[in-house]
Structures are given as C-alpha cells and as structure tokens.
C-alpha cells in the first residue's frame, strides 16, 4: 500500500471518531506542552542565575589572602597578612593575561549625612573597580587614579545608601561623615540588585582603597585583589600567571601550600548553574511522566480501535492486505495522533511558558533543543505505544477477523 493511501485512510479513520481522537491527542498535547514549559522555566532559572552571577563582572578573578598559620593553628581564610599593594602592582606589571586590577580593602561603620544616618560597609577599591565589575555609574563621576594615589576623601554611593541618606536626591558635592571622617560624594552607582546569595549589592559605599586604609582601617594589607582577565579564554592563563608570581614573591617553597587563594567567576557560575540544572531535569522528568501517560492513552485507544475494527481488518485481509499493510495502517494512525498532538503541544507549551513568565516575572526560554527533544519524544511515544496494537491487528487470522462480531 502506498504511503499516501495509508495516510489518507489513517486520517479518515481518525476523523470518524473526532472526539476520541482529540481526547487521545490531549494526553500528548499536555505531555509535550508540559515538557516544553518546564524546560523553558528551568532554563530560564539557569539563565537568570548566570545573569546574576556574571553581573559581578565577566572574566573576573578574586585573589584572597590565605589562612594564617601559627605553629599549626590555622586562622580563618583571608586573615593572612600576605597581600600587599606591591603584590597588586606586580600582578599588573608582570601578568600579561591580566587587563584590569583593583586592590581592595574594607571597612564598616556609621555614616552620617545631615540629620540622617545609615550603617553599611565601605569598600576600598582601585579606579578600575567599576570597569572590572561592569557596573555603570548612574550620575556624577567615579574617582580617578589620581584620587587613589592621593588618597582623596571622595566616595561613590550605592543606590540603597543614596536613597536612605539623601531622600530628596541632590547629593553630588555634598559631604558625608564616615566614622567622623568627612568624605565628599562625587557620584551614585546604578542599581545592581541582589547578588546570587541575596545580599543587596547596592547597600555599599565605594572609596579609594588608599583613603580607606589611611583614614578608616589603618590596616596595611589588602583584603582582596580583584582582577579581570583579558578574555574568558585568558582566565586560566591569568590564574596561573598570578599564582606563579605570588608564590615567587611570597617565597613559598615548591611543596608548600599557597598563602593566598584565587577564585574565578567560572567556578562560581558552574556551581550555581549545577543547582538550576538539577531543577530543570527534575521539572522535565515530572513533565515527561505526563507524556508517558499520554502514550499509554494512545495505546489504550489503539487497542480499542483494533478490537472495534476487527471486521474491517478481516475485510481488508480478504481483499489482499498483507500483515505489514495492516501494521502500517495502525502504526501510522498512532503516529498521526502523536505527531499532531506533538505539534499542538509545542504551540501550547510555548504559550504556557510565555504566560508563566509574564505572571510569575520569571524568565522562560524555549530552546530549539527542547522543541526537538519533545517532538522526538512524541514520535517515539507514537511508535512505541502504537506498535503493540498495530502488531496485534496485523497478526490476526483473516478468517477469525472476518467472523468477529
């Protein structure tokens, strides 16, 4: 029997029982739709986590001082007094894979502006800090290399701090007092939102690290050095160069541990996206259960159909249909159901994921991969669950089928 003829007769058979065909397809529609929507939500979550993390800046490496060791007793990480301004300078000069560098220190305290006050952390940074973190200034200016060198008492406010200290908005040129040291506000950062751990990144004040060191902490060492590699591919190169340089500068013997640690952005992204990948897989596997149930629905209906149409099968066999003709006919019917259901399901899934992302303010991404996957899945379901009933029909004895009442 020709393919066209098989298709025509399958469509006719399905149209004869429109309601039943539709209900059977509904199982596949919901299954495929759910898989697409769940994958879209999962991938949306993955995307937004990645986005949040890369908001820290891309190609970023953070160098922390290592643990302090005094006669076998280790103190918490970052407390070692090993990172110096000279280290930072050396990294800038001697590591070609490094593009920008920003030495950092930190202080905290009460900030007073007029009759308002606010408690927050003061981040001492280099002039390239915002370039590394890809964080634009909302208005005003950022301090320059000159300010850093001269340890000028200038600062830039995060959005949250600005909103709390200067509710009326005019603040560039105003003075604030940080632990009684007057600082001049020269700019406000654009809103950055929360970091992946939920900290408000806008609740901060940036000031030249030299000023923070000299006026607020009197702590001669660096708390961290922020570095950006020339490109994503240069991240491991930069990491190696920095590591070698610092080991040499700190005179660390070959088999001794580093007295510093380098964390790279890619590792953080990988850890965070691993979590959301699990979420995606979990959602998709729940959804594929409904696809499976839809497939069982197809098998059920095809079995009913074979029983109902036993006489038809007998008639077809009596006029010369071979087993494979009957097999093809019923298999194609199952496939048409699952493919049609798959098509509608994809449309349904795309609509559903758009709706969900609109309502829940959650990004959803429908990828070509998820469409191909669920489409392939529905073909597989059609073949898998259609084969048994089709084979049952094809294996009927012509005379038994003809006599069936």
């Amino acid at each position: 029997m020709k393919v066209v003829n098989i298709l025509v007769s399958s469509f006719r058979a399905l149209l004869r029982n429109k309601m039943r065909s539709f209900l059977t397809m509904l199982g596949i529609i919901i299954g495929v739709g759910a898989v697409i929507a769940m994958l879209a939500i999962g991938q949306g979550a993955e995307y937004s986590v990645k986005e949040q993390i890369s908001a820290l800046g891309t190609n970023v490496l953070i160098i922390f001082p290592g643990t302090q060791q005094q006669g076998g007793v280790r103190v918490s990480a970052g407390s070692a007094t090993t990172l110096t301004e000279n280290d930072a300078q050396a990294i800038m000069n001697e590591c070609p894979a490094v593009r920008y560098i920003s030495p950092g220190t930190r202080a905290g305290g009460q900030i007073i502006a007029g009759n308002l006050n606010w408690a927050t952390g003061i981040e001492g940074t280099g002039a390239d800090y915002l370039t590394i973190r890809q964080w634009p200034i909302a208005y005003g200016d950022f301090y320059t290399e000159q300010d850093v060198k001269g340890a000028t008492k200038v600062c830039v406010l995060g959005k949250t701090v600005a909103d709390n200290l200067f509710p009326d908005g005019t603040l560039v040129g105003q003075n604030i007092r940080i632990r009684n040291v007057p600082f001049k506000v020269i700019g406000v950062l654009s809103k950055k939102g929360q970091d992946p751990m939920g900290h408000d990144q806008d609740d901060t004040i940036l000031a030249p690290y030299t000023t923070v060191k000299k006026r607020l902490t009197w702590y001669p060492y660096l708390r961290q050095i922020l570095v950006s590699a020339a490109s994503v591919a240069d991240i491991p190169v930069a990491q190696n160069q920095i590591s070698e340089l610092l080991r040499m500068r700190h005179k660390i013997a070959r088999y001794d541990q580093d007295d510093f640690s380098i964390r790279n952005q890619a590792d953080i992204v990988a850890t965070a996206t691993a979590t959301t990948k699990i979420l995606t897989i979990l959602l998709a596997s729940i959804a594929s259960v409904s696809l499976l149930v839809g497939g069982i629905g197809i098998m059920n209906i095809m079995l009913v159909s074979v029983t109902e149409r036993t006489r038809e099968i007998g008639i077809r066999m009596s006029v010369g249909a071979r087993s494979k003709d009957i097999l093809a006919q019923f298999l194609v019917e199952a496939l048409v159901l699952s493919l049609l259901g798959g098509f509608i399901g994809i449309a349904f899934g795309i609509i559903a994921s758009t709706l969900i992302s609109d309502l829940a303010k959650w990004p959803s991404i429908v990828t070509a991969f998820s469409i191909i996957l669920s489409f392939g899945f529905s073909i597989a379901v059609g073949i898998f669950f259609g084969f048994y009933p089709a084979r049952k029909a094809a294996m009927l004895n012509p005379i038994d089928a003809l006599r069936y009442e």
């Binding site: 020709k2 008639i315 066999m317 009596s318 006029v319 010369g320 249909a321 071979r322 012509p398 003809l402």
Partner: protein, 260 residues
C-alpha cells in the same frame, strides 16, 4: 462489456485441484473434524454450487479455497501452485489477484462510499490512482450501480450492497469468485437478480463457487457438490441450469428494489 471478461477459457483448464483435504479445529481438549478428506477438481469456467446442512464443512472448505484459512492436511493446488504451502503474505497476494469474495453479510466498510469499497483491493497492489478509479467505476457499472458510486452502504438496499461487494470482488479481474451464501440476506426476487449477475460473469469465463443451502438457488449452477459431515456426499453435473433472466421474466412485476 469489459475486454478482460471476454477471454475464452482453455477447454480443459484445470483451475482447482484439492487432494485429501482435512481440517481439524481444536476446541479446548477435544478436536472438531470440519473436513475429513475432501478431493475435488474444478475446471475453469464452472459454476459450482456447494450445498449441505450447517456444520457439514462447506464454509470451512470455502475459506480454504479462498486462502483465508489453511488446511490441517492435504494439498490445494490453484493453477498448479500448491497454495497450502504458501506464507501469509503470499496467500494475501493470491486473495488480492486471483480470488474475489462475496459474503452473506456483504462485509462492506461502513462510512465508506461504494466506489471506495470497490477500490479497496486495488489499494493493496500497485495501481495508480487514476487506473484504480477507472477500474472501480467500470466494476460498479458492470453490476448495474454506475449511478450510485458515491453512495454509502447505509444508503443502499441489501441487493445494492451485495452488488457493491460483487463489484469489489470483480475489480481486480479474479479467476474465481467465491460466494458464501450471497443471497442469504436477500428476498427472493433480489436473490435471483444477484444470481443473474453471477451467471453473466460466469458466461464470460469467471469460475463461480457458491455456497448455499437453498436448493432453488442451486438450480442456477451447472454443478452441485453436496457436503455432509466433512465429506463429499455427492458431486453431479446439473444438465439444465436455470437462467436467472428467464426466471425474472416470469416473475410477477414488483416494485423495483431501487426504491428505498
């Protein structure tokens, strides 16, 4: 008439040779012997009536002749091919090209128009859509239903439905038409009309084998084979078969069965 029907049968063309055919059904623990050694020969162009009480094995014999069933023992040669040794697919091919079936219950596909029912056998052999359509129309014309090709079975009377199934049996130019109680569901006048078509086909060389338990219907055949308890009780030539055309002429006029 169609050119394919005017072929003249070879004088001694042996179409069917059946030797010691037995068929045993297993029903649970005990066996039912439906056929107990049937041997018979049928020449091309014969009009055979198979008679016998129900349970005599005539339908089983018919199903084996039609390649719908396979014998337990014995041989069945159709045009010198030992059909009893063929595979399922090969049997399907023979049903498709050499045999036409007419059943008591018509066995038409419901919700499928007359012409599509008639086209059905041609779907299972490579025929172009155009040729298939033409063959189906000419087969329907041959049985006098040229004006009803797009009617559905439920829009046709019993006699017309049986003619559709006859057209379906004829469409692939078979060697034999096997009819199992073709008039069983029809009134007597319609029965004779249908038998008339069989006689007409037979005159054009198609071998007809007809199962009936109505002796009047058997009068139209030119050979009678009687079955009893799975064996052939008698096999005799009917020297003066009735002509359906003649009988119809002598019947009192009636409302044409076309009026529903």
């Amino acid at each position: 008439m169609d050119a394919s029907l005017s072929t003249i049968p070879p004088p001694d063309g042996l179409l069917i040779r059946v030797e010691h055919l037995t068929k045993v059904y297993k029903l649970g623990d005990f066996e039912v012997h439906a056929l107990r050694g049937i041997s018979v020969e049928v020449k091309q162009g014969e009009f055979l009536a198979i008679m016998g009480a129900s349970g005599s094995g005539k339908s089983t014999f018919m199903n084996i002749l039609g390649c719908l069933d396979i014998p337990s023992k014995g041989n069945y040669f159709l045009e010198d091919v030992d059909v009893s040794r063929l595979s399922r697919d090969e049997l399907a091919r023979i049903r498709n090209t050499k045999i036409g079936f007419v059943f008591q219950g018509f066995n038409l596909l419901s919700r499928t128009s007359a012409i599509e029912n008639v086209e059905l056998p041609l779907l299972y052999c490579s025929t172009s859509n155009k040729v298939r359509h033409q063959k189906a129309i000419s087969a329907l014309e041959r049985v006098g239903l040229g004006d009803r090709i797009h009617h559905y079975p439920n829009q046709l009377s019993g006699g017309q439905q049986q003619r559709v199934s006859l057209a379906r049996a004829l469409v692939n130019d078979p060697k034999i038409v096997l009819a199992d109680e073709p008039t069983g569901n029809l009134d007597s006048r319609t029965s004779i009309e249908v038998i008339g078509i069989f006689q007409q086909l037979n005159r054009h060389g198609i071998t007809i084998i007809l199962v009936t338990h109505n002796p009047e219907i058997a009068q139209f055949a030119n050979r009678h084979v009687n079955f009893r308890d799975g064996k052939i009780k008698s096999d005799q030539i009917n020297p003066n078969p009735k002509s359906a055309v003649e009988v119809l002429k002598n019947l009192p006029p009636e409302n044409p069965e076309d009026e529903l």
